[in-house]
Amino acid sequence: MSVLVFIEQRDGKVRPVSREALGLAVRLAPAFGGEVVGVCLAPSDPGLAALGDAGCDRTLLATHASFARYDGVVDAAVVAKAVEQVKPGVVLFANSSLARDLAPRVAARLGVGLASDCTGVTADGGALTATRPVYAGKAVQSVRFPRTPALLSLRPKMFTPMTGAGKAGTVEAFAPGELPASRARVKDVVAQAGGKIDLTESEIIVSGGRGLKGPENFKLVEELAEALGATVGASRAVVDAGWRPHADQVGQTGKTVAPKLYVAVGISGAIQHLAGMSSSRCIVAINKDPDAPIFKVADYGVVGDLFEVVPALTDAVRKLDVHA
């Protein structure tokens, strides 16, 4: 049986999270004794042949002008049709804002279970076990799949994409069939200022909290972020105060992130904040209170006044770049 991967595209480009899913698919494929097959819905080919390098044997491409924008009713029907044709043992989605609607729909259509937001997957002779954080990351659940195919969505940044896989990456036309009538139309997409990378997909995040004292001081965080090539995040306290938009909020009622480096500036480290960032690879905390809970999870803590420490760190990082 093969491993089917939903290949997500936006504006004519395959989204990076789909390569992460392909990376896992390549690792799982031997246990299922089949190929890695992609399925993609797009107005035209978003460069799928390049996915051979990321481990894809072949991709089914369904084209239609309306596929430029996501429509759950339509897309779920097409993906379910591809599942019925390919008969995979596993179907993988990246847990993106699109797939958070698509994957459960496909599961309901096929009548199989879905393990969402998985952070670990093992295959023991074709029997899959997925691990996924629950209770806002305070616990980890292991699940198994009594039916085939097993459906999983993967937390971004938890699975490593492959390069140089040397697979064929053949692109095959897939007839989507008659499309159901659309009843939800994306009228507009307003890009975030500066077209910045989304928090969930960032390698480096610098987040600011109430310790910054006011919205105007976020420029300290922005400057450090710029020096590091990072995206800016925020605690709920500053989002609720209206200093930052909700899209920037990290935590239980915001975004769950897992960057390589997370820098927390003037954030106390409340349990609901930790829930959203404690699977980051490396955490740096800057806080004037040595007893702040954020230091319990910080790999590297600096106790001090952020108004002095942050500009000094920004300077030091900028200097590094010059010598690099």
């Binding site: 804002s97 729909r105 599961a107 279970g113 209770y135 616990a139 939800a184 999870v297 910080a298 803590g301």
Partner: protein
Amino acid sequence: MIQVVCIKQVADTETRVKVAADGRSLDPAGVTWIMNPYDEFALEQALRIKEQEGSGEVVVLSLGGAGLPTTLRNALAMGADRAVHLKADLVPDSLAVARALAAEIQPLAPAIVWCGRQAVDDDAAQVGSMLAELLGMPCVTSIAKFERAGESATVERDIEGGREIIEVTLPAVFTADKGLNEPRYASLKGIMAAKKKPIEEKPAVLGEPNLEVTALALPAPRAAGRIVGEGVGAIPELVRLLREEAKLL
């Protein structure tokens, strides 16, 4: 117009997770049970729509165990008209839940079905979209803004790097995100009125499980934190560690 709000009772977000003796579930000892926080946004929006229109019915629907009526009473006190409690000792996987809820919702022919973005216990974020598929409705997840215009609604949601503005033909399912509104507290009058509102109880109709939970465990603890130093003087060492030990810069 009928609106159905699906509500899950969950452990309070402050709960310290302890694994039960079965090794697969939360030890319920000492846990405070609350309405899933995202479901409060969903219920609030439904109540606002009803108030704006000056008519209609808001039905809250929940699948769960014996302790559920407290949460349902709270929803009625906030202003819902009636509640349906689908009784099940154990809350099964999302698809089984969605099927049981859909069977109850279908005959009501609601204009809008509301859910929360996700339940903060299983963090699945599945039931809303599954309901939509089972009911043959469109769904927009994690909405942060809602405006009704006759037979359709315009909603907004955050996606990676931007915000989508979506026009939806009703009937539809929406899942509510934080930021959609500011949920009200139940007033004393509401609490009194809720005592007279009906909670209908019936057994949940559940099929075979679609997922099997084999274990619940506490996450591997992070290595204990380390303080590099104090103030600006700590910066050279911090940069060295980030560069040489963490290999990040």
